[in-house]
Amino acid sequence: MAKMLQELRGSQFTNRYEKRITKSTYFQNRMFRLFCFFSVLILGLSLLSIIIFVGRTGLLVFKDVSFQEFFFSTTWEPYDDKFGAATFILGTLSLTGLTLLLAAPISIGIAIFTSEIAPNWLKRILRPVLDLLVGIPSIVYGYLGLTVLIPFLRNITGATMGDGLLAAAIVLNIMVLPTISRISDDAISSVPSELREASYALGSTRMQTIIKVILPAASPGIFTAVILGMARSIGETMAVVMVIGNTPQLPSDLLTPTSVLTSNIVNQIIDVEFDSTWNYALYMMAFLLLLISNLLIIIIRKLRVKGA
């Protein structure tokens, strides 16, 4: 016992030293936790402040413009105090619809090909290439649309301008293709192979297996991919600005210049005064975009809960 006490006394120095170390490590430990917590706080607060700033400024528009006029009138003549945003809302909705009509089937096809049909060496090339394509700046696609696609459309259809919903939809289509196909590819690849084997064992061909077994099993993931593509095409601005024609009118066909929410905001925001109804109307349009994108995310989360 006495020996032990002596030993303990002898190690008092080291003890004190160790205590100092533990104290500072505990301090660091707590500081790190605090840092992480504040990071998350900043993240949440920034979303909140975006919603509050944009929403508060946007809602001011209803002081001067009635609810009905803003949502249901197609007359956008800011100099005459007419702020009907229906043209832009319809434009955004139809552009997104048109884009998905083209992009969804093609990219799901590519996803099926990469995950089920392509030989292994091709898979190893295809996936990184699709990843690379996601990173190409949208403005480059817009530039291509302006310099290659629009002259091409003009030649083919004989239209005078060539700008419009069709050109914008094709440009957006090429932009969202890699995104949708990569995410659906992941969803299809994560379908358990037991399902495949069971289907083959029942004598079905590969096509039957894919269409009747794999696609239904992967459908929540594929829907998520399509909705993410939708969110991207709703929010895309510069590529659309370059090919849509930027005229606030309801288009009579797919080759008439028109305007959508994003392109109208970016075209006019620089020139308007901050405290004007015009500016509030533009912020309201941005708030609308924000609400739509949040709604899409809520749908995705619901899908995930269902799938899990």
Partner: protein
Amino acid sequence: MNGNSTNKLYKQIKKISDQMFTIGLWIITSLILVLIFLLLIYILSKGLTKISFSFLVGIPSEIDVGGGVGPFLLNSIYVLLISLLISVPIGIGSGVYLSEYAPNNKLTEFIRSCVESLASVPSIVIGLFGYVLFVDIFNVGLTIIGAGITLSLLNLPVITRVTEEAIQAIHMDLREASYAMGATKAQTILKIVIPAALNGIISGVSLAASRAFGESALILLVGGTGTSGEMWDWSLLSPGGTLPVHLWYVQSEALVEDASEIAEKTAALLVLITLFLSLSIRFPLWVRDFRFQNKSNKR
């Protein structure tokens, strides 16, 4: 007899339609990929041959032929670095919090949905927010620092999410081993978990970086279309126009005679830099995967 032949016919139809399906998918995929590649090659071949060193560092001109993109290129890199400087620590911090510290409750779920919502907010809405903040409230006008800070809001959710996923994929054993050695939670995370998850985190950062580099709508609103007009201007308060914005400006508003040539060269430069950004970070991963695959094939 009759049933047998219909059965045969049915089998044949099944086989043919299966083949048609396979061939159709081959054709669609190769058509689309070839199309996109032709477009990229078209851009690169049109612009790359004309790019010279004087174009890369030259001052842009509104009137004379032969202007360069020097200040825009510099601004692009500058703004990107500022945004990464802000978003990488905060993004990794929040990713760590969400995966390691956050209790499993409603608040955490709420924060997670905030991250996802923020990731899907259109860049133009974030741009408008930055415009209100820097132009109307702080009254600093269109600046580099404003563009960098606003851009970091675009990167943050991407980095956070990727970090969270990468960290969650790390085995519990590693953490337990570290705790058993007497390490605190912070030490375990900083010295064991983050290094193990570094691959995923880096590829997430590269994804965010290439997206931020190509961003144009947000920069147009917060950074403006111009630069200070001088090379090597490091002031944080000079106008923050970047390369993508310049491409838009030259193509749609500029009056210079050689505008279309400048646009060609700028587009080629943009594609080249984004490809380089994503390739340089993925390349080590590819080499490793390739080696791994070869090894497992030999076995």
